[in-house]
Amino acid sequence: MSDAPLLEAEGVRVEFTTRGGTVATALDGVDVAVRPGEILALVGESGSGKTTLARTLVGVQRPTSGVVRYEGEPLSYSGRAVKRLCREVQMVLQDAAGSLNPRQTVYESVAEGLRLHRLVGRDSGGRTEPELVAAALSEAGLRPPERLFLRYPHELSGGQKQRVLIAGALALRPRLLVADEPVSSLDASIRGEILALLLGLRDSLGLGIVVVTHDVGLAWNIADRIAVMYLGRVVECGTTEEVLQSPRHPYTQALLSVVPEIEELTPVVLTGEVPDPTRIPGGCRFHPRCPALADGAAAEAGVADACRTTALPVLAATGEHRVACHLATARDS
């Protein structure tokens, strides 16, 4: 794994203006970087901005401010630049069932990318379109691929649909795959297979992967690094072992404590819902729900005021285990 990031976002902010005129800040300053062949998990709940970040990385969402860089070059958002990025960075959507055109066969769905980018003529092996489609389907674990050429999406199982989507993305020979909740709509027993497929693609094709998920177990299964997101910011990031085994941010700690598979932590069930992205709390955005503030731990460390009033800086994308929390920073020094 080389050290220079393949895809990175720097200081990215994305704002949406609703019909009523209010501004929802989906991303409020995010630095993130993915190296070639690395698997990064973006973990968070709804409203955290993880899907918006994924779409920004792929070039489909233009940030209000900040820059997205591929191989060091900033993205220019011209039609041609975005189309060229498609070949390098592909995204697999969450709803496998809805993401396939019901009137297109499996063959056509996978061949679409090939045709859009005229890849059949440029193939180094001189392969024909059916051969390229078959190769992509095989790589996604659908064998023998020819049997599925004429099938329609409604004739496939959930796992097969997901694999077809992955094959469609692989057909473009990307160097990075962004998978938005790749297994959340699938049965539990299929989960392992699809995750194993993603890992296998990293091993065999050197593909980098960004996985967007709310499931920390998934991150434990396949991710090298994790970025935990809350209300449009990364609140903690580092290697998977660091973040999941020694979480430092109260949000990460609470999130891990309610996962049923972990017995060591007493469950900290946060009250209330994730606040509105149109009204982000001042100071630390997590402070209204922070158990450390509520039970006095923050006051003890003398940072309670800071939690309520002082905003935290954007976490740097690379480096060791970092956390955006006044309490954690105070405890370190």
Partner: protein
């Protein structure tokens, strides 16, 4: 003493153009007051069909065999009047997909009050409103939200409204079908906490259906794992989740790894193949084609539930490790 809910040899089959499709094949299950029983399984295993039969909500052309006893009375053979009285006042269902189960053009206070008015037609507006406020408090929703429409609430709040509706007529048995699917992890924890609390406070019996075994292990006392229409493992939640005996239950349990377990790092555990087509079940054990431990004997006959270490599993190789 009658059990709150008892299923005896329940089988449900749907009539389709391709023949009789067996959705549930011989299930025995018991739920008592103050107990939380979980049913785990994936799509097509028959768990939703099971839930629908408790209130006789299965489609008219479904063929039902066996008995479904709620408080000792068979729901399938009840008179219509008794069934109406039973529905909601003795047993209630919390449906999955709360967004689609709530009427989008009516306020939630009207919707929660609806079952109350159906069962107590003469009730005054004031009394109904009071009961609605009481229910909202029980489920942890601020009473000011009662005049909201469903789309104005978050997913977790809508699910709480569904639970409040289920409690409206003070049932003794509640069936929750996938109550936490599509909810965030934290909201899921809140809803499960709420349900566990209600069981303790009100002494109701709760049956939770979910495809997420880890969710069930947290809140249930006992868990039944279903596969292809049959119960393949039945035991305490702890046992079934931590040390499952049936190979399928084991696969289901290991699908959600323990964070911190080095064995699960870069090693997602999966199960190859797909669940069997109910119209074309394999001979003998329905799980045999996907089972790593299958032998020839497995294809001979459908294994019954065998006792092993305090729980029951439908596997002839149970006990040998």
């Amino acid at each position: 003493m009658d059990h709150l809910l008892e299923l005896r040899g329940l089988s449900v089959a749907y009539r389709t153009t391709d023949g009789l499709l067996p959705a549930v094949r011989g299930v025995d299950l018991v739920v008592d007051a103050g107990e939380v029983v979980g049913i785990a399984g994936e799509s097509g295993c028959g768990k939703s069909t099971l839930a629908s039969t408790v209130l006789r909500l299965q489609p008219k052309d479904a063929v039902v065999e066996g008995e479904i006893l709620v408080g000792g009375h068979d729901v399938q053979t009840m008179e219509w009047g008794d069934l109406r009285a039973l529905r909601w006042a003795e047993a209630a269902i919390v449906f999955q997909g709360a967004l689609h189960s709530l009427n989008p053009v009516r306020r939630i206070e009207t919707q929660i009050a609806e079952p109350i008015r159906v069962h107590e037609p003469g009730i005054s507006d004031a009394a109904a409103a009071e009961r609605v406020a009481e229910l909202l408090e029980q489920v942890g929703l601020p009473p000011g939200r009662s005049r909201a429409y469903p789309h104005q609430l978050s997913g977790g709040q809508r699910q709480r409204v569904m639970i409040a509706m289920a409690l409206a007529c003070r049932p003794r048995l509640i069936v929750a079908d996938e109550p936490t699917t599509a909810l965030d992890v934290m909201v899921q924890a809140q809803v499960l906490d709420l349900m566990a609390g209600l069981v303790k406070d009100l002494g109701v019996g709760l049956m939770i259906i979910s495809h997420d075994l880890s969710v069930l292990s947290d809140v249930c006392d006992r868990v039944a794992v279903m596969y292809a229409g049959r119960v393949v493992e039945l035991g305490s939640a702890e046992q079934v989740f931590r040390s499952p005996a049936h190979p399928y239950a084991e696969a289901l349990s290991s699908a959600f790894p323990r964070v911190g377990d080095p064995a699960a790092r870069y090693a997602p555990a999966g199960l190859a193949g797909d669940p069997p087509d109910p119209l074309d079940l394999p001979p003998g054990c329905a799980f045999a084609p996907r089972c790593a431990r299958a032998t020839d004997a497995c294809t001979e006959a459908e294994p019954p539930l065998l006792e092993v270490g305090g729980r029951r599993a439908a596997c002839i190789r149970v006990g040998e490790r």
